[in-house]
């Protein structure tokens, strides 16, 4: 088998939010934006399509959507044409699998599209479907599935154990909403003040409205290929997939792997593997997109990804250490808190932002960024997925 170096060569997405469009419409918009990002590539040269979507079976009454999407966007895949469902990490799973296929020579050029149409004509159905997104028979029937309660308990644990404050949680929202304010594709482009976040209506205390990612319609797309093909396609700097990991160590309501809810062993396990594969350390990362489904998530991710010490995530974010000018600018395009979170699309949105950052063409550019890390948490914290991208292989 071959052992080729794999590059991400194009990224696209549509306007995210409450969209008057179907998931098939949204996939076409995102694919169009992605094709436009690499004009030298002909559609006939794309031999694989992976479509990441979790809810299409429920909210769009569509299983096996990949051939439908392929036909609509004008692709005729010959190496792979398949749907992936890893809930919030579906897009990243697509990129990991595309990387493996291209690296081994089983595919040459793979497009990874992902996204959801989550808003249904009656809102109850969207919320109700969330109870299919965890362990339906054991957890869904307990009314779990909507994530705020789980992350509320996680936030309380972190606050009681490490002294983390509501101000520190809020600082994450203020930063990410500021970063998203210049992103035309984001669901929310309005900045929020610390006072507004602190005073927002409660969802599951201590989490309020601005501590939580919204429900979002939208799609995103990226194209990956091997190094030689990437060089042919454009003069832009090459961006390589250097390391990947995806861990799953327990089920949602039982067998939690950590000592307590703010102890994310499965994230540290994923980080160790991804950093080793990429042959880098946390200090080598210039820019990160981490899964800020809730403000508390980003704080714990800073710790368990190794960007700060365990328990120090609160002061780390409050003092701007994961903002522009700090140690590790994080969620530079607004993250989930600003962009929204159409589950299967999020990892692809992050990959697109990484591509733009490492090629020096992001809207909010981290000067000289050469190494980036993207992270997803999926389900009620049952999986962690990491991708490390670099300007060098």
């Amino acid at each position: 088998m071959a052992d080729r170096k794999v590059c991400i060569v194009a990224g696209g997405m549509d306007k995210w939010g409450v969209r008057e469009a179907s998931v098939v419409d949204l996939a076409q918009e995102a694919a169009q934006d992605c094709f436009d990002d690499v004009p030298a590539l002909k559609k006939e040269e794309i031999d694989g399509l992976l479509f990441a979507s979790s809810y299409c079976g429920r909210t769009s009454f569509q299983v096996n959507p990949a051939p439908v999407i392929a036909e609509r966007i004008g692709l005729k895949p010959t190496s792979i044409c398949s749907r992936l469902d890893t809930l919030c990490a579906g897009g990243s799973s697509g990129i990991i699998l595309a990387t493996g296929l291209i690296r081994s020579g089983m595919a040459d050029v793979v497009m990874v599209v992902g996204g959801e149409k989550l808003y249904t004509p009656q809102r109850w159905e969207t919320y109700y479907s969330e109870m299919a997104s965890i362990d339906h028979d054991w957890d869904g029937a307990q009314g779990m599935g909507l994530p705020p309660p789980f992350f509320s308990m996680t936030a309380q644990e972190h606050m009681k154990r490490y002294g983390t404050t509501k101000e520190q949680l809020s600082a994450v929202s203020v930063k990410n909403r500021r970063n998203g304010s210049t992103n035309p594709n984001a669901q929310f482009q309005k900045e929020v003040s610390l006072e507004e976040v602190m005073a927002a209506r409660p969802i599951a205390p201590p989490l309020g409205l601005f501590d939580c990612t919204p429900i979002t319609d939208g799609c995103a797309a990226v194209i990956l290929t091997h190094e030689d093909k990437a060089k042919e396609l454009s003069d832009k700097p090459l961006v390589y997939v250097r390391g990947t990991a995806q861990t799953s160590l327990h089920s949602m309501s039982m067998n939690w792997p950590g000592e307590h809810l703010a102890d994310w062993v499965h994230l540290r396990t994923a980080a160790k593997r991804a950093f080793e594969q990429a042959r880098v350390k946390p200090a080598d990362i210039d820019v990160a997109q981490t899964h800020d489904c809730f403000t508390i998530s980003e704080i714990i991710e800073m710790e368990d990804l190794g960007f700060c010490k365990k328990g120090e995530g609160g002061p780390f974010v409050e003092s701007g250490q994961n903002d522009f000018g700090g140690k590790i600018p994080t969620n530079t395009d607004g993250g989930l808190l600003s962009c929204g979170h159409p589950f299967g699309a999020t990892g692809i949105r992050q990959a697109r932002e990484m591509l733009f950052q490492l090629q020096g063409r992001a809207i909010r550019q981290v000067e000289g960024a050469k190494m980036g890390l993207a992270h997803n948490l999926s389900g009620l914290n049952v999986e962690h997925t990491i991708l490390i991208y670099g300007r060098e292989p």
Binding site: P121, W124, Y127, Y128, E130, M131, D135, H136, D137, W138, D139, G140, A141, Q142, G143, M144, G145, L146, P148, P149, F150, S152, M153, Q156, E157, R201, P202, I203, A204, P205, S251, M252, S253, M254, N255, W256, L261
Partner: protein
């Protein structure tokens, strides 16, 4: 009553919209768990070969791969470690506040579950809780055109009063 937008569903049972497990024995191999709930017993499967006692129950031991399993009782009492009261965005079928807790059973096993029979502001960390088994809407099994109602049980925990 016809279902709006989908009148063809009148009188039919859409199991893919059912919140609760398809507990009838025709649809799973762990129906004994639900039968035991009816006797207020909280149970799981224990591997007769290696002793592994996982929850939820299995049909094959996840450790040694044996299918020689037996039903054993788990404690029905425990204490609250952390809890949360969800006040907004509660899913259809549940009322706000929807209370969930990380509890520790008397054997040290931890699980996250719903806390029933409890008002907002009543629960405290460290509070004693016990199994609350309750009846949920029956599911339908159709045999030769006859719709048969199968009674169902589910569980939460509740404060010990």
């Amino acid at each position: 009553m016809p279902v709006p937008g989908v009148p063809i569903l009148e009188g039919l049972y859409p199991s893919t919209l059912d919140l609760y497990p398809l507990e009838a024995k025709e649809f799973n191999r762990i129906y004994q768990f639900y039968d035991n709930l009816r006797e207020n017993r909280f149970t799981t499967t224990k591997c007769k070969k290696c002793g592994t006692t996982p929850f939820p129950p299995r049909v094959v031991c996840p450790k040694c791969n044996s299918d020689d399993l037996e039903w054993v009782d788990l404690p029905t009492k425990g204490k609250v470690l952390r809890f949360t009261e969800e006040v907004a965005g509660v899913p259809h079928g549940f009322d706000a506040p929807l209370i969930h807790a990380l509890i520790e059973l008397e054997d040290g096993r931890k699980l996250i579950c719903r806390i029933a029979n409890c008002k907002e502001g009543e629960l405290k960390e460290g509070a004693a809780v016990q199994l609350f088994a309750y009846e949920v809407p029956p599911m339908i099994v159709e045999k030769r055109g006859v719709m048969e109602e199968k009674p169902r049980m589910f569980f939460a925990f509740e404060p010990v009063k």
